[in-house]
Symmetry: C2
Subunit: 303 residues, 2 copies
């Protein structure tokens, strides 16, 4: 019953006979071990991390549950291949809106090969990685039953500038997230970005850990933010989540904090909190407007 | 009455007929405008910053007071040259111990020339800039009346690895800071790094501003930490200070936080707080030891 994930927004896709991850209907995600040693490094990370008693319990929720590894038929028909067995983090969600954010102002690390560093440096400077401390690596925004998802292609996402990133982060929490809408209302910001279980609080919880932990340096790792727009529209309490994925380039921290990840995370936090503040201000403004007598104009002069 | 500063630990020195800053005996520091447009950029920064009402008052203490600019005879005898007139931040201090920390895991910025970027990248990777998010650019540690200052040369400082940096940060607050001492006692850590007016609190105050301000990006800027060891030895309340200097590469933030500076600052904070925690632990241990009856051995068995 294995199939390609419906809601994958970045990375290699198991479609058209290519090698990519698979999911089953029990909520597990099978990720084939990547080449050039990356896969075995990621497996080693999950093994170390899952038994690392220094990681606080409240931080584990940001990582997919690790169930070990398993030999499975690869999606590209190349035969048996070792897969990481992980929690499928979108299992149970109907139409999740997802943004995949690659965190850090630098995706390379000095221990890597010169070629790898050069490739990363060029992409970091071309995208918002250097300027923002993060870049969007993929996304899907659910617009509604008729229009479905807005899921721009890889090239379009890679061409995002700072303004596009800000716009995507606003549209993510807007009732009308279609491209044509140049002034998204951010009406879901208070319930998705804000609140005690919202994205901002989760990011701040993660930040506090990164200010202290000196065990792992997460290079080129992705932070997903996701929620179900339909559940908000239906009036049920939305569950907004932050998850970290992709650990093929995790290095030992050796007593130093991951300042590269932390700096990018703080930059993302500032974007989220700015959108949240704006949405609160505009809702106060709207309330003030609605409390004014109807025969008053905007400048307060009664007609 | 102009002369070369006694306590300059990094940058160009006004000695042997070279161009460098000068000080007078009224507490002012005269910095000649650097070439290749850097000097005029730094002057422009000071002019903008000093009249920027968005900068909170409690943040201004981290910057030298700016008194404008003045034409003065250059220290290299090349004639009149425009100088920045700044507060001499070590004026009034007798034998200050100083560490000059260049903050950020990246000293370059995409707008710079390819040559400049290449030069910075190489130096960033060779020093602790990439690994730690900061590097020590210079220092002087006062050891006492007889031995005077330990002030390693530029080449030695540039060769510092992570362990050297940690060692310098420990020796900075130790009663015996000489090189021969491999296990510095960090006995001044509680009064210099700790306490309500200590270095750690000041760094945290600065951090809170950097988490929010999106106006300035401080590339290749130095953070000085300094105090007078003699005043501690004499039992008077030590005044430990944090100051930012060197603003020739400050760029507009354009609504994005300075994640590069912030990440490095958080890394420095972790170093300081680790040394402070260790020194507290060892002082608790020492107290416990001293409270034991003298005929008991370390493992608690009485002889």
């Amino acid at each position: 019953m294995l199939q390609a994930p419906k809601h994958q927004v970045a990375g290699h896709l198991a479609s058209d006979g290519k090698l990519g991850p698979l999911v089953d209907d029990s909520g597990r995600f099978y990720k084939p071990l990547q080449g050039e040693g990356r896969g075995s490094k990621e497996l080693a990370f999950y093994e170390t991390f899952s038994s690392d008693t220094r990681v606080p319990d409240h931080i584990r929720k940001f990582f997919p549950v690790f169930y070990g590894s398993q030999l499975l038929e690869a999606s590209n028909g190349s035969g048996l291949c070792l897969h990481l067995v992980l929690q499928d983090i979108v299992s149970g969600r109907i139409n999740p809106s997802i943004i995949d954010v690659k965190i850090g102002s630098r995706t390379w690390y000095p221990e890597a090969s010169d070629d790898y560093i050069k490739k990363c440096l060029e992409k970091d400077a071309r995208t918002t990685t250097v300027s923002l401390g993060f870049r969007i690596a993929g996304l899907q925004l659910y617009e509604g039953k008729e229009s479905g998802f807005w899921k721009p292609g890889r090239k379009e996402v890679q061409s995002f500038k700072v303004d596009n990133v800000r716009s995507v982060m606003r549209r993510f929490v807007s009732s009308d997230s279609s491209i044509g809408n140049e002034n998204p209302d951010c009406s879901f910001a208070p319930s998705i970005y804000g609140g005690p279980a919202g994205i901002l609080e989760q990011l701040l919880e993660l930040k506090a850990w990164f200010e202290d932990q000196t065990t792992y340096h997460f290079h080129s790792c992705s932070l997903l933010i996701l929620f179900d727009k339909e559940s908000v529209l239906k009036g049920s309490t939305p569950v907004a989540e932050v998850k970290l994925i992709d650990f093929a380039h995790v290095l030992e921290g050796k007593g130093v904090i991951d300042h590269n990840f932390l700096g990018g995370l703080c930059s993302l936090i500032k974007f989220v909190s700015d959108i949240l503040s704006e949405s609160k201000e505009s809702s106060i403004k709207a309330n003030e407007e609605s409390e004014k007598p109807h025969n008053c104009t905007n400048n307060g002069n009664c007609t």
